[in-house]
């Protein structure tokens, strides 16, 4: 696999070395998010004739004056009927510089869990606000969720600039208000772009209607935004996913630990510690189906072989010895409750899935419920309902091998599963590992 990273022989003229960027979009109802995405796809020529024809026909049949670009992204029957976006939709487009995966997340209050879903894997989040409405509660909630999920970059898109007479002062006011809120959240200074998704201003090319704005168009920004390879720069973590033992005549004694690098860089010869046993070993080789590689870093899927006879299984973790992950049966986590049938209550028993390890757990304490609008803490809260966020203590039957989420998005995240319904009832971010 890494032979494909630098080997120019494997890059044909048709496959330029493009990077993958994942971004999520968040906006309130009627902020024009679907229209923005439709516009981005339409103007970057990522839509096909049959898709355009279908949307034009549907728009005309509904008596719309122009093609309703939101119809490109609203796919389910109920969405088209009600004119709303229900579920996270994934969209794809490419420019010569980058391949984009968009998680299009609905903005309604009741669908916060979708916002968390989209933001959990995003490198960049676009937060859309209506220039006429300024920052509404929803925008703050979206920004807060992005900060909670540690999305590395935020972009504030002030939409519907056409409806405020392309006013620079309106834009600057919203930008300042948003920056102040972002500072309060401790997130890096967000980029801000004034746009009109409906008319295409500042989406792909710079708008002539807003000469006072001297920044990039949205697409230019997305193509150029530097997403620090933060995952590589922290301590190496390799959750063992699967043990490969061919037990064939060609490979009688082969034993390899397959998985995806969660963080850091590992090389053959590196000394490592295997958790939870704490035994140390040395990496004898890092292999892929295409041959051995000199180093492995996120998000590579590889097979690591260790010197000596160790008993390593799925759910174990290979770490650097000087800064290993915590081995703990008690963690504190900020959780977003996603179940609409039953609330979280202290004492509840669940299964926690964390990296490649599933463990039984009990919620020993609900420390507080967070008001995502005021950021206030309600310490009197006794439960968390759908879309509520709170800090809990979890006690697990067997140890978790984990880091704090702000340090490591992979080894700091977990999901909570209801053992009766098997539903995924919460997403959690570990805030303390003891």
């Amino acid at each position: 696999m890494s032979s494909g990273v630098l080997d120019p022989l494997r890059m044909t003229d048709q496959s330029p070395p493009t990077e993958l960027l994942r971004f999520a979009t968040a906006g309130s109802v009627d902020d024009g998010k679907s229209t923005l995405l439709g516009r981005l796809l339409y103007d970057s020529k990522s839509l096909f004739e049959d898709q355009i024809a279908a949307v034009e026909a549907l728009s005309a049949s509904r008596g719309h004056e122009w093609a309703d670009l939101s119809l490109f992204t609203d796919g389910l029957r109920a969405e088209r009927e009600q004119g709303i976006t229900i579920d996270v939709a994934y969209r794809y487009f490419a420019t010569p510089r980058r391949r984009f995966i968009i998680a299009d997340t609905p903005g309604h209050l009741q669908y916060t869990r979708n916002m968390v879903t989209g933001a959990s894997t995003a490198d960049v989040a676009l937060i859309l606000v209506d220039a006429r409405k300024r920052l509404v509660e929803q925008s703050r909630r979206h920004a807060f969720l992005c900060s909670l999920l540690r999305v590395p970059r935020l972009v504030l898109c002030v939409n519907k600039m056409d409806l405020v007479g392309w006013s620079g002062s309106v834009f600057h006011h919203i930008r300042e208000e948003f920056s102040a809120f972002a500072a309060q959240l401790g997130v890096p200074e967000p980029a801000a772009i004034p746009i009109s998704a409906l008319h295409g201003d500042n989406i792909v090319s710079r708008s002539a209607n807003m000469p006072w704005y001297d920044g990039p168009s949205l697409l230019d920004h997305l193509e150029g935004v530097h997403v620090a390879s933060y995952r590589n720069l922290v301590d190496a973590r390799f959750p063992v996913q699967y043990v490969i033992r061919p037990q064939s005549s060609g490979h009688p004694d082969y034993r390899g630990y397959a998985g995806q690098i969660a963080s850091g860089t590992l090389r053959p010869g590196d000394e490592v510690v295997v958790l939870p046993s704490g035994l140390t070993s040395v990496i004898s080789s890092i292999e892929t189906a295409d041959g051995p590689v000199p180093e492995a870093f996120p998000p590579m899927s590889v097979t690591i072989r260790l010197a000596g006879d160790l008993d390593v299984a799925r759910g174990d973790m290979i770490c650097v010895p000087h800064h290993p992950a915590a081995v703990t049966r008690e963690v504190e986590a900020m959780v977003c409750w996603m179940d609409d049938t039953r609330p979280l209550t202290p004492g509840g028993r669940y299964t926690v899935k964390h990296t490649t390890r599933s463990v039984r757990a009990v919620v020993s304490e609900l420390s507080y419920r967070l008001d995502v609008n005021s950021l206030g803490r309600d310490t009197a809260a006794t439960s968390l309902s759908l879309n509520e966020i709170g800090l809990v203590r979890l006690r697990t039957m067997t140890p978790l091998l984990c880091d704090e989420y702000p340090r490591n998005r992979v080894t700091g995240s977990l999901i909570i599963i209801d053992e009766t319904t098997n539903a995924t009832v919460a997403a959690g971010m570990i805030t303390r590992t003891r």
Partner: protein, 305 residues
């Protein structure tokens, strides 16, 4: 960082997609008892099988493959299927629509297309073999209902998809827990586009059935779609077959999969053609999606891929 040289820290997009696919293959093999990979010998399933091969090397792929055989096949495709399966040493299970028709479990639809009756045949095979996870080659860029489906897509005892009640999918933490009789459809190519698939086929030098490349074929023009003239497609009054150079962008039931005019007879030319094309893969070739705006959603609710 204690190292002097910083690593080459970014993976190119095909490597990143491959790494994700391999991760999903291993996750399913580790978490489920009886996984199976849906293999139609179409280009997406060929790529998916390559990911499976890479995920477990140097061991063999630890699960069988399943082909839902409509009986309306292109002979080249069946020959290719058998060859590829033999090369990899995997077990092939066939869920046969003709057998189901013969036994009366399903009835031939009036319009001659067996697309819709594949679903009960697939579900019967799942029940018979007690498969609990099924890898499918569907991509989210193919169709708007697919754009909203999870990578681990939960199906109830009847194989049905409920788009309003999907499990949240956060980070790369996939919930594999199910009750007996339920199953998960897993889509490791969810984040790939048609162009990614072809670039990967070129990079990996993957062999495909010949019908993916331009060739002379006798076709008829039906509502703007070019259908091959064969025993599965009775000519309608007034239809006049003609021979032209075509290729297939998708390989499905020969009665509902159309060809496109093409001169692209190599993988490089196909990539050029796709880069310039202005019509989606399913829009150009699939009669089955033209039924309504939500044809795919409706079929998926019934248990279709």
């Amino acid at each position: 960082m204690d190292s002097v040289t910083l690593p080459m820290t970014r993976l190119l997009h095909l490597d990143a997609l491959e790494a994700e696919g391999v991760f999903l293959m291993r996750e399913v093999a580790a978490e489920f008892e009886r996984p199976v990979l849906l293999f139609s010998a179409g280009k997406d399933s060929v790529v998916m099988l390559r990911l499976a091969q890479k995920a477990f090397a140097p061991a063999r792929i630890p699960f069988p493959v399943l082909h839902v055989d409509t009986g309306h096949n292109f002979p080249e495709v069946i020959a290719f299927r058998d060859k590829r399966v033999a090369e990899l040493g995997v077990t092939l299970e066939v869920a046969s629509v003709p057998d189901a028709l013969a036994s009366g479990r399903v009835r031939e639809p009036a319009d001659g297309s067996r697309n819709r009756i594949q679903t009960p045949v697939l579900l019967a095979a799942v029940e018979k073999h007690r498969f609990d996870a099924l890898f499918g080659g569907a991509r989210r860029d193919e169709e708007k209902a697919r754009a909203k489906e999870r990578i681990f897509s939960f199906r109830d005892e009847f194989g049905q998809w409920d788009p309003r009640n999907q499990r949240p999918e956060v980070w790369a933490l996939y919930n594999a827990r199910i009750h007996p009789g339920q199953s998960i459809r897993v889509f490791p190519l969810s984040n790939w586009t048609e162009l990614d698939i072809w670039q990967y086929i070129a990079r990996e030098r993957l062999e495909l059935p010949d019908i993916y490349y331009a060739h002379e074929r006798e076709v008829v023009d039906r509502d703007g779609l070019l259908f091959a003239v064969n025993e599965f497609l009775p000519l309608r009054p007034g239809e006049r077959p003609f021979t032209t150079k075509v290729r297939y962008r998708t390989v499905g039931d020969a009665s509902c999969t159309a060809a496109v005019r093409s001169e692209a007879d190599t993988v490089e030319r196909v990539i050029e053609e796709i880069s310039a094309t202005r019509v989606t893969e399913r829009g150009a070739t699939r009669g089955d999606d033209r039924v309504s705006e939500t044809a795919m959603e409706d079929r998926k609710r019934e248990g279709y891929f």
